[in-house]
Symmetry: C2
Subunit: 265 residues, 2 copies
C-alpha cells in the first residue's frame, strides 16, 4: 500500500511528527530529494545548502568529518534549513548499546540532539536500543527528532540480509513513535505507509559505483524498482560543476518517478 | 587452538603489529583487563587512566561523549598511555561505507587516526569496508592502528546472528593485516590464534545487566566459557568507590582465568 498511496494519505497515517513534516515538505516543494553533503567544511555545507535549499527536502550530513565544526555554525545551518524548509539528517549510523547511544546523541562536542531533525541508526544492538535511542519517554527528542533505521546497505556483500532487515523492520513498527522511516534498497515485508523509505547510492551518471564497494542506481530505478520515497544523492551532485542545475535535475527526475509510481499503480 | 595456546606462541603467529604489541603488554603486565572509561570528561578519563594504568592493557573510550575534548588533552592521555603502557581503543563502531569511514577515521574534529591504537568497526557494510578502513595500502595507519571487528554484541536480541558473525570472521581473516582482533561472546568458527577476542559486558557484581538491554557476565565466565582474551569492564569499575582496588580485582580474576584456560586445556 505504501508504494501507491498518495503522500496526503500517507501523511495522515504517519505516527511521527517529523515524518508528518517531511510528507508536507515533499508535497509543498514537489521534491523527494535528499542531498548527502559529504563535505569536510561546515562553511561549505552551509554555502551548498543556501544554493540548493529550495530543491531539497532533506540535507544529510556527517558531522564527524567536518574540520571546522562549531555549534554556532550549526545554528547558522539550522537558519538556512528554516528559511529554505528542509530537514537536517545526521547520518551518524548509531550502532552501540542504548546506554552509549543516548550519550552520543545528546552529549559530546556535537550535541546532535540540539540540531538534527533526523538521525540514522543500525538496529544491530537489538530492539531496546531503538526504544531507548533518544532517552526516556519524557525526552523532548521524541518529538523533535526521528530515527531512520538502516534496514539495508547499498554496498557489495553487505551483511544486512533478508532475515536481518525483516526482524529490524518488525521492531521499527513497534517503535513507530521513534522510527520515522528507514534506509533500504527495497520495501520491507512489514511495511507501513506512514514510514518513509530513504534510498542512498543514487547517481545518474555512474552505474558502476566507487572503487570501495559502493553501488549506484538511477533516480527512476530507486523510486520505481526499489521503493524509494526519498532518493539520496551524494557524489553525483556535490562533485558536479553546477550544483543548482544538477539538484534541479535530480529533483525533477525523482519527483516525476514518484508521481508516476503513485498515479500508475 | 587459540584458546589453549600460550600468549608467546600466539604473539608469534600475529600478523598485526598492534596485536603483537598487545600480547607483549599482556605478558609483561599479567593483565587482560580493558577498562571502558565511559566518562563524559576527558580530564576525568586522564585521571582515571593515571590511577588504573598499571593494571590495564587497554583503555577503551568513546571520544564522542566527551564534553571537553581537545587534541591537546588527547596528547596528554597518550602520554599516560605511554608511561603506563596500555593501548587506547576508540570504540567508534564504524558502520558506514568505506568512503565515509575513511573520512570519519582521519578527519573531523577528533582525528582518531592520530591517537587511537585500536578502533572498533562493524562488518555490516561488507568486506571492502574492512580492507579500505584505514585508507589505501600506503596509509601509515595500517601499522599504527588495529581494527577490532565486532562479530557479536552483548545485548538482548542483537542481530549479530551466527551466519552474520561467521561471514564477517572470514572477511577478517582475509584482512588479517588490518584486523587485530574481534569483539565477541564466543570464538568464531574461522578463528585465528593471532587474533585477540575482546568480550564486553563483564561485571562481577551484577548478573542482570542494565535496564536498556545490556547483559553482564563475570570475568571467569567471559574467559573460560566464552573465549575472551581481553575482558572489557565498564560500569562495574568506573562507578566503584575505589577504582584502583576494583581494577586490581578484575585484573587478578581475569588473568587467573586466562592462565587456567591456557594451562589446563
Amino acid at each position: 500500500p505504501r508504494l501507491h498511496e498518495s503522500l496526503e494519505e500517507r501523511r495522515s497515517s504517519s505516527k511521527h511528527p517529523i515524518a508528518t513534516r517531511l510528507f508536507e515538505l515533499m508535497m509543498a516543494k514537489k521534491s523527494n530529494l535528499c542531498v548527502a553533503a559529504d563535505l569536510t567544511s561546515l562553511d561549505e555545507v552551509i554555502k551548498l545548502a543556501e544554493s540548493i535549499g529550495p530543491k531539497i527536502v532533506v540535507l544529510k550530513i556527517h558531522v564527524d568529518i567536518l574540520e571546522d565544526f562549531s555549534l554556532a555554525k550549526m545554528k547558522q545551518l539550522r537558519k538556512v534549513a528554516k528559511a529554505h524548509e528542509f530537514l537536517i539528517m545526521e547520518d551518524r549510523k548509531f550502532a552501540d548499546i542504548a546506554n552509549t547511544v543516548q550519550q552520543q546523541f545528546h552529549g559530546g562536542v556535537y550535541k546532535i540532539s540540539e540540531w538534527a531533525d533526523l538521525i540514522t541508526a543500525h538496529p544491530l544492538a537489538g530492539p531496546e536500543m531503538i526504544t531507548h535511542l533518544f532517552g526516556d519517554s519524557s525526552s523532548d527528542s521524541r518529538r523533535t527528532c526521528g530515527c531512520v533505521l538502516i534496514l539495508e546497505m547499498s554496498t557489495k556483500n553487505a551483511l544486512t540480509s533478508q532475515d536481518y532487515s525483516k526482524e529490524a523492520a518488525k521492531w521499527g513498527l513497534i517503535a513507530s513513535d521513534i522510527v520515522a522511516g528507514f534506509v533500504g534498497q527495497s520495501p520491507p515485508d512489514a511495511d507501513f505507509s506512514g514510514w518513509i523509505q530513504f534510498t542512498p547510492g543514487v547517481n545518474s551518471a555512474s552505474k558502476s559505483g566507487d572503487s570501495k564497494g559502493q553501488q549506484y542506481c538511477s533516480p527512476a530505478e530507486a523510486v520505481l524498482e526499489r521503493g524509494a520515497d526519498i532518493i539520496i544523492v551524494g557524489r553525483g551532485l556535490i562533485k558536479s560543476s553546477d550544483v543548482v542545475a544538477t539538484a534541479e535535475n535530480y529533483r525533477s527526475e525523482g519527483w516525476t518517478a514518484l508521481t508516476k509510481r503513485i498515479t500508475n499503480p
